[in-house]
């Protein structure tokens, strides 16, 4: 195909693309006014844009004279200018610098002002430390489900699991915990925690000690809790010790007791901060 023929073919394609684009834009207006379908709206708008893309591309590559231009470049300024600039700077700096006392005071004043100006950053958030070391669990707090109903011993089958909160604080992020009823003999409680899990009822913090996600998966067959975010796995039998994944610390255990009428109550708050580690947390 010779050049003029090719040119006129391309011109026809570009014209067609623009016509299609025009129709598609009208189509979008119609689709917008008559349907809720994101597909139809997207299709119309997409075709309108694609038509313009085709036309512009053909125009730029084939319908205007194809020529190459050559620009010369010089990056750095000529030497005399560089020397002049340096001399001007030096002359000015010298005038400032020779007043020793004043220039030092200026430096000090600016520096101290800079530091002082940073102080308001402190207003952006409260001191986090007190809240990191305690949750809403208090001695005697009843264990309630997500709907606020208190849990009683005997309600749970062996092997079942339920998310619980301290009464009055349903949904509290740091207090969320898992109540499990383990088969007798499953849990190897250390002597200091011997009375923390009456009748196989045991409570662990639900906040992952790695990056703070809720430890939401329970593998009943192996008695493991699994965090779906980064796959930290905790062995229930070993008091929720991490056995694989990036977590380094066991899920804190909440000491509980069975009180009057079979209600489960906390003996105290967790004995250590829940959730991910931080500098002030201690060893």
């Amino acid at each position: 195909m010779n050049a003029p023929a090719r040119g006129s073919t391309l011109q026809r394609i570009a014209a067609l693309a623009l016509l299609i684009s025009l129709c598609a834009s009208v189509g979008f207006a119609v689709a917008y006014s008559t349907t809720e379908s994101a597909q139809l709206q997207g299709l119309a708008l997409g075709v309108a844009l694609a038509g313009l893309a085709v036309a512009f591309s053909i125009w730029g590559t084939s319908l205007v004279a194809q020529e190459q231009v050559v620009d010369q470049r010089e990056m750095a300024s000529p030497d005399w200018e560089r020397r002049t600039a340096a001399a001007e700077l030096e002359a000015g700096t010298h005038q400032i610098g020779r007043r020793h006392l004043l220039s030092r005071l200026l430096g000090a004043a600016l520096g101290v002002f800079g530091v002082a100006a940073l102080f308001p950053i402190r207003s952006l958030g409260p001191n986090p430390n007190p809240q990191l070391f305690k949750t809403k669990w208090t001695p005697g707090a009843r264990l309630v489900r997500e709907d606020g109903k208190p849990v009683r011993a005997g309600e749970l089958e062996v092997g079942s699991i339920v998310t619980i909160f301290p009464e009055g604080f349903v949904g509290d992020a740091s207090s969320q915990a898992l109540l499990l009823r383990l088969a007798p003999g499953t849990l190897h409680a250390t002597p200091d925690r011997a009375d923390w899990s009456p009748q196989g009822y045991v409570v662990f913090s639900k906040v992952c000690t790695h990056a703070g996600c809720p430890v939401g998966l329970y593998r009943q067959s192996t008695q493991e809790l699994l965090c779906p975010c980064h796959q930290s796995t905790f062995n229930l039998a070993e008091q929720a010790k991490p056995i694989s994944g990036p977590a380094t610390r066991a899920l804190p255990q909440l000491p509980i007791r069975i009180a009057e009428n079979g209600y489960l109550r906390a003996q105290s708050d967790f004995h250590e901060p829940v959730g991910p580690g931080f500098w002030e947390r201690g060893g």
Binding site: Q41, L49, G60, Q66, P126, C229, Q231, A247, P276
Partner: protein, 460 residues
């Protein structure tokens, strides 16, 4: 008409001395130069769709009962942010499409920046005199990641809320100041009230302003320094050869721009992205499984999954295990990238300015190093969905994590040597090909002092 406008402007601003040269400015034609433009156009798409969304979004943490047309959530307590995102998706004409275009554009924006940066790296375009634009470009990448993550977090859905929870936990791992940084940014220990308002301000004002400003500087410097170019006939260190801005390059670039828009619009219309109604509203005691972030955050999430369970305890203080993959790794990676122009200069002792680009094969050690860095990022990115992959191929996720941990060490090393060798062979082949060029002849000096013309002998 336009000519009249030009005269009007020149009478007032004296613009013609600039435009007379600008219209004839040379723009080299190479496909790889389009990557940065795609980033620019996807940002334009983000601004256009973002204005629409920003006017309809309600950045409120106040909870309300959902009463919209999406039946499974009726009666559920959701935040104002979640409710308004649902309203945009289900009750606003064209809302769903525009929201999805916005999200797809964000994915494309980050992808275009990363590939553009790879082009700059592998061709040596970051070398003197372009170190400043390398630094601005890297900063733009960081800002784009920040804008992506804050935008992803805005709807207050279960998936993004979990992402924020992780981000807060990672901030807390920083020694001395971690819990303060977390509290000052989030306004208190997670989940703090008002976080959506802060995210909104950051996402729609702080980060976009910085991005717009830096793009302007990036392009002004590009304009002033003029483009780099590959070697070729008549191309030297002191010139640049290409299409004139007006009309050739402008038309072609507009074609590319509209093509980029068409792609994100079709994606937004047809391919569902971030269906927050399937995840549900954020509840700190619930978690989505599987939980994966957008692709551009995958490298961080994957690194957290691959991190070893080793916490450091010193003087009664804790450096949690997540500090290494969550803070140290990105810090080291980006410091290395920021310093790369100087690292390379220190290795090569080359202090000259370069306007001609390297073919990646011609600098095997740099290309191999870049490939090794990419390989490491690839492994951490893939690891971010290891739970899904493990389920697909029916092996325990613990095993797959071990495999990725091994690959994280092995693949960069393998990639380095493989790419180094590949570059060497491509170089040899290029020389062979050049030698077959009929225009090349070899002159051999005879013992008598004369010169004989010969076909070149092959080079190995």
């Amino acid at each position: 008409m336009i000519a009249k406008l030009m005269l009007w402007l020149d009478d007032r601003l004296g613009t013609s001395s600039f435009t007379s040269r600008a219209f004839r400015k040379a723009f080299p034609d190479h496909w790889s130069f389009m990557l940065g433009e795609i980033a620019l156009y996807s940002f334009a798409s983000l601004l256009a769709t973002g204005i629409f969304l920003g006017l309809l979004f309600d950045a409120s943490d106040t909870h309300q009962i959902y009463h919209g047309p999406y039946a499974p959530l009726v009666g559920v307590s959701v935040s104002g942010a979640y409710a308004s995102t649902m309203r945009i998706s289900f009750e606003t004409q064209a809302g769903l499409m525009i929201r999805q275009i916005h999200h797809w554009s964000a994915l494309l924006f980050c992808a275009a920046i990363v590939t553009h940066m790879a082009r700059i790296f592998f061709t040596g375009a970051f070398r003197k005199p372009r170190e400043i634009n390398w630094i601005i470009g890297l900063t733009l990448l960081l800002l784009a990641l920040g804008a992506g993550f804050t935008g992803y977090s805005l709807p207050d859905d279960l998936l993004s809320g979990t992402g924020l929870r992780i981000a807060a936990s990672i901030a807390m791992t920083i020694p001395f100041v971690g819990v303060w940084i977390e509290s000052l940014f989030f306004g208190g220990p997670f989940p703090a009230p008002q976080i959506t308002g802060r995210l909104f301000f950051t996402h729609v004002f702080l980060l976009p302003s910085l991005i717009v400003g830096l793009i302007a500087v990036h392009m002004a410097i590009l304009w002033h320094q003029k483009h780099t170019q590959f070697r070729g006939p008549e191309r030297t260190e002191s010139n640049v050869v290409g299409s004139p801005l007006w009309p050739n390059y402008a038309l072609k670039s507009l074609g590319l721009g509209f093509a980029s828009f068409a792609v994100v619009v079709i994606l937004g219309g047809f391919f569902q992205i971030n269906p927050i109604w399937q995840y549900g509203p954020y509840d700190p005691s619930l978690v989505a499984s599987p939980a994966q972030p957008d692709w551009y955050v995958g490298w961080l999430d994957g690194a957290l999954r691959l991190g070893l369970p080793i916490a450091v305890h010193i003087f009664g203080h804790t450096i949690p295990a997540a500090f290494l993959p969550g803070i140290v790794f990105p810090l080291v990676a980006f410091t290395l990238l920021y310093l790369w122009p100087w690292i390379e200069r220190w290795i090569t002792k080359d202090d000259r300015a370069h306007n001609l680009l390297d073919m990646p094969r011609d600098v095997p050690w740099r290309t191999a190093t870049g490939a090794a860095i990419l390989a490491f990022f690839l492994v951490t990115t893939l690891a971010a969905s290891d739970d899904v992959q493990a389920r697909l191929i029916a092996i325990p996720v613990e095993t797959l994590t071990r495999v990725y941990q091994g690959l994280g060490i092995a693949l960069p090393i393998l990639a380095w040597f493989a790419v180094f060798q590949l570059c060497r062979e491509l170089q040899a082949r290029a020389i062979q090909r050049a030698m077959k060029d009929p225009r090349i002849v070899e002159y051999v000096r005879s013992p008598e002092g004369g010169f004989d013309e010969q076909q070149p002998t092959s080079v190995t």
